[in-house]
Amino acid sequence: MASDALFEVRDLGVCFTTPRGRVSAVREISLEVRRGECLAVVGESGSGKSQLFLGCLGLLAAGGLVEGSARFDGQELLGPDAGPRRAALGTRLAMVFQDPMNALTPHLTIGRQLAEVVLERGLLDAATARARSLEVLRSVGMPDPEARLRQYPHELSGGQRQRAAIAMALMTRPDLLVADEPTTALDVTVQAQVIDVLRGARDRGLAVVLITHDMGVVAGIADRVAVMYAGRIVETAPARELFAAPAHPYTAALLASVPRLDTPLAARLAGIEGQPPAPGAEPDGCAFAPRCPSALETCHRSRPPLESLGARSVACHAVRLAPGAGP
């Protein structure tokens, strides 16, 4: 299984130096992404899911430090040699950000921004770059691609902008695409279209890491899911098994809090009591224990390690994975 992994993270931690000292955003993260699969990384705002991947790609803001290992196709991205990272970033490994309104440079046409990625590195000549731009725009379902090339970002709708941003990332035909909340800034109907685009790319062999807090979006595209809480992974599982039988109490609560169409109107929305701990103020023991309905005495004292069984893993004292669990 490990030899199949395109992207492998081992014991990764991200922390920031603040006036109050060092604050951890993310700790002891180990996960992997295989070729052609879609891994969804789920968590609340502040769980560290974005920082995790910004750290792997070397895109942290000033004051950010990353430790641990992140290997892409066997090559270490975080080592003392920045060569593999610079070679991979933007060619075989690409990242798309949350807000399409701001991720595109406002004063350059879409065509120039698309072509820049390949022209700047001398990968293609101008004519081929243009042809590739059109091909990629078509593959993301952009209506009337020729016209789009000459337009500026502000002339596109939100959904079209996000598609253009994804197209930019796909120009070099990468092996892995990290999409950081690509649908959060869009309305629901457009969300579905963007997920279709990502699914199409996944079906053509692209590995996708989808960072999101929207479980509905996860259900639409993910092969595997990693759930994060307070900077740590608390559960990973194949998507279908996660939805059918969530192991960790936090995952169960997350799924329960999603409103359903068949909920009576007068019923209260199910939330999770309390707040996630602020970075730097995590309690001893399990970070979720103060809010957990299944908390045991030992949960408040010692932090449960992430234990794996087969394709699933969970970090919880109160739950034990059984072989063959799930449908």
Partner: protein, 294 residues
């Protein structure tokens, strides 16, 4: 949050359209622009309209310095050497404008490159680059230019080079501030994530975005340069005969203020009008582009 970012994106992309509309609504700025256009046209065509050359002495006049008169063809009168003031004023305007434009161009090129690089790179590089600017700022500007003119002689090229060489400092500071702000924007992060090198990001993504501010300050720098060049000429360090500039004409006219007031009034009026119009236009441009600067 989506709302506010949406608004800023709208202004960014529709920047020039919005700005043009706002500028058109600003009557003072439009009047100023028209005024400048008229003055430039007059400067270019004026000498051609008059039968006199710039250094031709009209010996038929007595005294040599004669007031403006439509009859003898000296519409602005003549200076104390009998040279036609109409032609000299417009030739002088040409020179003043040329010096101003070239010197401003030099300061824009150096200032933008310096400031954008410092602002984008940040950290210690930024620190050192801006400390250099601070040190140069502290130099006595006037002495520096005077020393240059004494050492290298008073050529036209030297003047605008000297002025430009000092004028880039303010431009660098302004551009650096803008670049610092732009560095945080998400499209810069996206460009970095796509693996684009720093020089490419600075040149194609940062600099075009600061152009709005640069244009405003360049428009406001031009009158400063004209004034400075006039001051140099007043001191006798500016352009040399037979070339003349507005400053030289004002200097010469000031000497004859009591006996031949037109020699001072005409070039001074043109100079004042030009400076006023440029300042109004610069203000108008700044207001037009302001919402984006915010």
């Amino acid at each position: 949050m989506a709302g506010s970012t949406h608004a800023s994106a709208m202004t960014d992309g529709a920047l020039w359209g919005d700005a043009r509309r706002r500028l058109r609504g600003n009557r003072a700025a439009i009047a100023a622009a028209a005024c400048i256009a008229v003055l430039v046209l007059a400067a270019l065509l004026g000498p051609l309209a008059s039968p006199y050359a710039v250094d031709h002495v009209d010996w038929t006049l007595s005294p040599l310095a004669s007031p403006p008169s439509l009859a003898n063809g000296h519409w602005f009168g003549t200076d104390s050497n009998g040279r036609d003031l109409f032609v000299r004023v417009w030739t002088g305007t040409q020179v003043s404008l040329l010096v101003a434009l070239l010197a401003t161009a030099v300061s824009v090129v150096i200032g933008v490159a310096w400031g954008a690089t410092a602002g984008y790179l940040g950290g210690r590089v930024d620190g050192w680059m801006m400390r250099a600017v601070d040190v140069l700022y502290a130099l006595p500007y006037m002495f520096f230019v005077i020393i240059l003119t004494v050492v290298f002689g008073r050529s036209l090229w030297l003047i605008f080079l000297a002025i430009g060489a000092v004028g880039w400092l303010t431009m660098a500071r302004i551009v650096r501030g803008q670049a610092l702000a732009l560095r945080q924007r998400e499209f810069v992060l996206a460009a970095v994530a796509l693996g684009l090198p720093a020089r490419r990001i600075i040149a194609r993504h940062i600099v075009p975005n600061v152009l709005g501010t640069v244009i405003v300050y360049a428009t406001l720098t031009v009158p400063q340069v004209i004034l400075f060049e006039s001051f140099l000429s007043f001191l006798g360090l500016g352009v040399q005969e037979p070339l003349t500039s507005l400053g030289r004409l004002v200097a010469e006219g000031a000497l004859e203020m009591e006996t031949a007031p037109w020699q001072l009034l005409v070039p001074a009026s043109v100079l004042a009008l030009l400076l006023l119009a440029l300042n109004f236009l610069g203000d108008g441009l700044r207001d037009a582009l302001d919402p984006r600067l915010g």
